[in-house]
């Protein structure tokens, strides 16, 4: 279906009360990426924007909504109307992870699939704008499939081609087309995605470095982490209500439960603590991270977190030939085992 038909369909469904809300992207004040749109007003659906600037992974808004409802003692018969959610390929894999773990019921979703030909990398676009634009006023930024332009008294001057501002994650993307959807925006992406075996070239390239080089790279990165937990709070797979790594979430109420609860980390932000936080989180994402890249995009300090979490995804793929979120019915990888699991890392 064409974008305008989809907007009309969603607006109709909303006004007929068939949908609880529509969650998608819309224009914000930051020209380098779109901001989320959560609305139940049919007239606001017109603002929906399907451009490559809509990068965020919106699944978390569903997880929060479902959890808020489950926390309230609600009457079981209360009928829950589905929520429309705009979903790219990697986001549909994130949805599958949540469905696998029964965190959100499929019937409460009306998935608007958005085939993805690569999204804009907001950090790259902003850096190029900052260095190449004559007048840096952000109101003159224009970004579309052709690239980055500056509006100079009404006329577009190209500053960068699309390749220069596109997110290189697309080269490793296994699912340009959403895996499951109720309606799709436009035509699916025709060309074949990268083969499974070649999808981790970025991790393999990093592994060429010596252990010393690797640690000096990562310890420098971890030393800059300010533990703002944006990587955790924006991650669709980070769906625990009580996080064991950060104190910024729910706490038990009972005093003894508080005493028993172990916090693995204090709020101190030195390299060792930051490293432990990221290692623990990486382990929690093994076989669940779908490489949507939100952690790296949200990180204000520009730490290449996706590379770390994809190293886990690579291990899980190499050892068990499992890719996160490809099949909503599959049993999560870390809840399974089989006899031939490798033991080469162990002392014989």
């Amino acid at each position: 279906m064409q974008p305008d038909e989809i907007k009309k369909l969603l607006a109709e469904k909303l006004s007929k009360g068939e949908l609880r809300a529509v969650i998608g992207y819309r224009r914000g004040t930051n020209p380098f990426f779109r901001r989320p749109l959560i609305t139940s007003a049919p007239e606001e659906v017109e603002e929906l924007d399907f451009s490559p600037l809509g990068v965020e992974n919106l699944c978390n808004y569903i997880t929060i909504e479902v959890r808020k409802r489950r926390n309230r003692r609600h009457d079981p018969e209360e009928q829950y109307k589905p929520t429309a959610l705009v979903v790219r390929g990697c986001h549909s894999r994130a949805l599958n992870v949540l469905l696998q773990e029964k965190l959100i019921p499929r019937e409460e979703l009306f998935v608007v699939g958005l085939p993805c030909r690569g999204v804009v990398d907001p950090r790259k676009a902003q850096a190029l704008w900052h260095s190449r634009a004559e007048n840096r006023d952000q109101r003159n930024v224009v970004i579309d499939e052709q690239g980055l332009f500056e509006l100079k008294n009404g006329e577009r001057v190209q500053l960068a081609k699309y390749e220069e501002i596109s997110d290189q994650r697309h080269d490793h993307c296994r699912t340009p087309n959403p895996l499951s959807y109720d309606v799709m925006v436009g035509e699916p992406v025709a060309d074949e995605p990268v083969e499974a075996e070649k999808q981790f070239s970025d991790v393999e390239q990093f592994l060429q470095k010596t252990p010393e080089e690797r640690w000096s790279f990562w310890s420098e990165q971890f030393s800059r982490c300010i533990r703002c937990y944006a990587c955790k709070n924006i991650c669709p797979a980070c769906s625990c209500q009580e996080c064991s790594l950060a104190k910024d979430t729910e706490q038990p109420v009972d005093a003894d439960a508080k005493v028993r609860k172990t916090f693995w980390l204090s709020k101190e932000t030195d390299t060792a603590d930051n490293a432990s936080y990221h290692i623990n989180r990486a382990l929690h994402l093994a076989g669940r991270c779908v490489s949507c890249g939100e952690c790296e995009r949200a990180c204000p300090m520009g730490i290449p977190l996706l590379l770390l979490y994809r190293s886990l995804a690579k291990q899980v793929f190499d050892d068990y030939h499992y890719e996160a979120g490809m099949d909503p019915e599959a049993k999560p990888i870390m809840t399974r085992f089989n006899a031939e699991d490798r033991e080469d890392f162990m002392e014989e």
């Binding site: 005093a255 003894d256 508080k258 005493v259």
Partner: protein, 281 residues
């Protein structure tokens, strides 16, 4: 070469606790949320209604109302086990050492209450700041008018300081009005919630001040009833509770509007609180 400049050691470090020996620790109330009474020597001067930050090494700090009167040589705290620090304090025994810093907060404006009748209304653990006033007024009785002490809890077993309460029953220095929420055999005093007990006692508003501390729901209804009895908002005082870390109005977390509960409070008149929507949530 960076020129290092020796700086004088900073004497008045408001965050640095002093260590103090625990004289006595007594269980006042049992049950799921037990209350214990802690006694230490008096480490600094203070006014009724002020608080102190008790610090347990390796566990953390907790801000508590000082429940004893400044006229006494020892300081007392009533501690309900609710979090990690209070649970730690409950685990202590006499003779162990804890850290203490303070006093913090504004305390009750007692000197402006001279010549007035005082109505104290406490509920559950809310007794601690009110108890400090009661003891202080009893220790120098004559500047103040009539003294009514209305205090209630869920059951008789939940009443704090019950030995001291029994001693006060006969005293002519004050009118004692105890209550428990639920019917109990052998209970001779009022049965029902504290706000209803207040209406029973119905103290005259004229020339009086009222102080109420306890769970937020109780404070809301007590204030409603006090207004009904003719008390002006400026005659009604309460203490508010917020999470606190620094105690000196810097760490930013205990604010109600532009007021910091730890520094501009915890004692507020209802007249002040009416201007802050966030206060009485």
């Amino acid at each position: 070469m960076q020129a290092k400049q020796a700086n004088p050691v900073q004497e008045d470090n408001p965050y640095l606790p002093n260590s103090v020996k625990l004289l006595e620790i007594k269980t006042e109330v049992g049950g799921p949320r037990p209350i214990k009474r802690l006694k230490i020597e008096k480490c600094f001067d203070y006014r009724p209604g002020q608080c102190a930050m008790l610090s347990l090494p390796g566990v953390g700090e907790v801000m508590l109302a000082i429940s004893s009167s400044p006229t006494r040589e020892t300081m007392e705290f009533g501690i309900m086990k609710a979090g990690v620090a209070t649970a730690g304090l409950h685990g202590l025994s006499a003779g162990e050492y804890i850290g203490i810093r303070g006093p913090y907060g504004n305390g009750f404006p007692l000197d402006s209450w001279e010549g007035k009748n005082i109505v104290l209304i406490g509920g559950g653990i809310g007794i601690t700041p009110v108890w400090s006033i009661l003891r202080y007024v009893l220790d120098n009785r004559d500047p103040y008018g009539a003294l009514d002490f209305i205090y209630g809890a869920r059951s008789s077993a939940d009443l704090c300081y019950h030995e001291d309460l029994d001693q006060l029953r006969g005293s002519k220095e004050l009118h004692l009005h105890l209550s428990i929420d639920v019917e109990e055999p052998g209970w001779k005093d009022f049965t029902g919630f504290v706000p209803q007990n207040l209406l029973e006692v119905s103290p005259k508003a004229e020339g009086a001040v009222a102080v109420t501390c306890g769970p937020p729901i109780m404070i809301k209804f007590v204030i409603k009833n006090l207004i009904q009895l003719g008390f002006q908002p400026s005659q009604i005082f309460t203490t508010l509770e917020r999470r606190m870390k620094c105690g000196i109005g810097k760490c930013g977390r205990c604010n109600i509007g532009d007021l910091y509960v730890c520094k501009d409070g915890p004692v507020f008149s209802y007249e002040t609180l009416q201007r802050y929507p966030e206060a009485m949530e």
